[in-house]
């Protein structure tokens, strides 16, 4: 067993940290407060070729694995960029996985080089208000019309829709009641977010204000048949291929956010003197931080294992789910403890820990809730009856 990162992985960590370090907490505080997409940050990473880290080299990527991408996103989050920074990058890093794996050669050539270079922004339209995690219940429908499809319906939690020109969109092409299996009959499209047919409405939310999340309404949007990703009717299966890498990367982001929150707490606890001694000398402050340190280290190991399994082509569903579960649980706990350590100042925006706290909280809900992960572990790892 070898826990040593490769030379390349070490350099990726060092360089990702150095570039992310150019954007300090004040930058992220401003982007968050102004609800501004972090263009300067995004372009710095795009120009240096980081967006294509896990894309094949023949399409302008670096051809690296989820291990390397997870190191990148962990360091971005740990720089203080947290989810505002990580989300700005990760949609391109893992979101286009279905196109890489199932798109036609023509589609890949047309889309991936521009996406890897940061010129093309793609949003993801999967979740619907009435379906939630029960994806087969989506009602957005694409009807065939000659050599194109006409899409109508509504999606929710479509991140970065306002900055994107395209959307990876899941729609039913066969009604659920006409399918042999309820996971059949859905198709993935790489559609234009054409304002003539698409209405975007931003959702006010708890945090991660620099990257918008939206309700998106599709009203007879025409989509060329050449923009179908993979096979018609097989969209759900194409989509689930990308779920494990997504969970691993989200876990890495929760880990990074927990790390920066904990580092701030430790620095503050050393510095802040009350009743004649640093507050970090009190076990009531010190032990929760030490406990979080140990938990984040454990979560990191699960992330590394899940990424290694994925990159070596082995099944990684349980590890990817557990990495996401542990990192988001303990990342949030670390942020909460950091806020508590800071006392009243933790509640003030200028100390930034409230921003980490708000942002890492979403990892316990998205991309899958903690409860659904426990369902998965209960059913598939422990062999217990399905509970839902």
């Amino acid at each position: 067993m070898d826990f040593e990162p490769t030379e390349a992985q070490q350099q990726i960590r060092t360089q990702a940290k150095a570039l992310a370090g150019r954007f300090d907490d004040a930058y992220w505080r401003k982007c968050d407060q102004a609800h501004e997409f972090p263009w300067e940050f995004y372009e710095a990473f795009a120009d240096a070729g980081w967006l294509g880290i896990a894309m094949p080299e023949e399409y302008g990527g670096a051809g690296l694995g989820i291990t390397e991408a997870s190191i990148l996103l962990e360091e971005v989050s740990a720089s203080g960029a947290a989810m505002n920074g990580a989300t700005a990058l990760h949609l391109t890093i893992f979101g286009l996985n279905p196109v890489v794996r199932h798109g036609t050669e023509e589609l890949k050539q047309r889309i991936l080089p521009d996406a890897a270079a940061g010129r093309l922004h793609v949003a993801f339209g999967i979740t619907e208000p009435t379906a939630g995690l029960d994806t087969p219940s989506i009602t957005t429908f694409a009807r065939r019309d000659g050599d194109r499809f006409i899409v109508s319906g509504q999606k929710v939690w479509t991140s970065k829709a306002k900055e994107s020109s395209k959307v990876l969109l899941l729609a039913r092409t066969t009604k659920i009641e006409e399918c042999a299996k309820r996971t059949d009959g859905m198709t993935l499209f790489l559609a234009d977010l054409d304002p003539k047919y698409v209405t975007i409405r931003e959702i006010e939310k708890l945090g991660r204000h620099a990257v918008d999340s939206n309700e998106v309404f599709y009203d007879d949007l025409p989509v060329d048949a050449r923009d179908v990703v993979g096979e018609v009717g097989r969209g759900f299966y194409h989509l689930i291929d990308g779920l494990n890498p997504e969970r691993i990367l989200i876990a890495a982001e929760a880990l990074g956010t927990g790390r920066v929150a904990l580092a701030k707490a430790a620095a503050y606890a050393k510095d802040r003197v009350v009743f004649g001694r640093p507050i970090g000398q009190n076990q009531g402050i010190q032990f929760p931080l030490a406990d979080s340190y140990a938990k984040l280290k454990a979560a990191e190991l699960m992330i590394r294992k899940a990424a290694w399994l994925y990159d070596t082509g082995q099944p990684c569903g349980a590890e990817a789910n557990m990495a996401k579960y542990l990192a988001s649980e303990w990342g949030f706990e670390a942020a909460d403890r950091s806020l508590q350590t800071h006392g009243g100042f933790g509640y003030a925006k200028e100390f930034d820990v409230e921003r980490y706290w708000r942002e890492v909280r979403v990892m316990r809900i998205a991309p899958v809730t903690q409860e659904m992960v426990l369902n998965f572990i209960g059913q598939h790892e422990l062999g217990l009856p399905r509970s839902y």
Binding site: T6, E7, A8, Q10, Q11, I12, T14, Q15, K17, A18, L19, A44, D47, A48, G49, W50, G52, I53, A62, L64, A263, A267, K270, D271
Partner: protein, 267 residues
């Protein structure tokens, strides 16, 4: 054009004051826990200058040298990721706790060993000790001119033309080659390494040379042979007091303040 760039790894200057500690008995800085060392911030500017001069000359080689512990390899890798061609790490227990003069001699020996070299570039100072004397020592050891604090460097027919930063303006000087030029932050932003170059740099081998490889004997290295012995190392205690100057009007407060400052011989 063959250029050698000297780089150094230093404790992160952004280390919070509470994490910065020294061991007064051992006269050493204690590395801050959990805060990785970084490349001296002036050094990527020296590398940037080297890469631009190489490009302008239409060819040549940029070699990076660092004297330091194993981890200093990262400082070399950063320069390789920016586009430098080769790297050499000067690493030996005999280099522990040596002073600026011994460092300068070791770097000069490495530069001689590399051989063909038109120009040596360094950052204007290292941001840990901030003395800026090593380049002068290397110049002395090699017997070549040193031009410090450059904001622009241009290769000319006879040598280099360097625009230097002064307290109250700029000065343009010319020097024959080979020469040493130290680069200041006014030179401009260094390029950020591309992911593709980072991967190529990761594959490159950094040569490691010991004191013996440089022909340096026991009398030239080691803390016992420092030219500049370190007498004491401590974090100065900063005490501050606040005194509110009273007065019935702003004018009276100003008068009282001026009297206080005069009494303290500050004005």
């Amino acid at each position: 054009m063959n250029i050698i760039v000297c780089v150094k790894q230093i404790p992160d200057p952004e280390t919070p004051a509470a994490s910065f500690k020294v061991d007064e008995a051992a006269k050493k800085v204690i590395p801050a826990q959990g805060i990785a060392p970084v490349v001296n911030p002036y050094d990527p500017q020296a590398t940037e200058a080297a890469l631009r001069l190489k490009d302008a000359a239409g060819g040549g080689k940029v070699t990076v040298i660092s004297l330091g512990p194993d981890s200093a390899r990262d400082a070399i890798k950063h320069a390789l990721a920016m586009g430098a061609d080769e790297g050499v790490l000067l690493n030996d227990p005999a280099f522990d706790d040596i002073d600026n003069f011994q460092t300068a001699n070791a770097l000069a020996a490495a530069i001689k060993k590399i051989g063909e070299c038109d120009l040596v570039l360094m950052g204007r100072a290292s941001a840990d000790w901030d003395m800026g004397v090593v380049p002068l020592g290397v110049g002395q050891a090699l017997g070549v001119p040193v031009v410090s604090v450059a904001k622009a460097i241009e290769k000319t027919a006879n040598g280099v033309k360097v625009e230097r930063v002064l307290d109250d303006g700029f000065q343009t000087v010319e020097a024959p080659l080979p020469a040493i030029v130290t680069v200041s932050n006014e030179f401009g932003e260094p390029r950020y390494p591309q992911l593709r170059q980072i991967m190529m740099a990761a594959k490159k081998t950094v040569q490691v040379w010991s004191a013996a490889d440089l022909g340096l004997g026991a009398d030239a290295t080691g803390a016992a042979n420092r030219v500049m012995p370190l007498e004491a190392l401590y974090v100065p205690k900063v005490e501050s007091n606040v005194e509110i100057i009273e007065g019935d009007s702003p004018e009276e407060k100003a008068r009282n303040l001026a009297q206080k400052l005069r009494a303290a011989k500050l004005i």
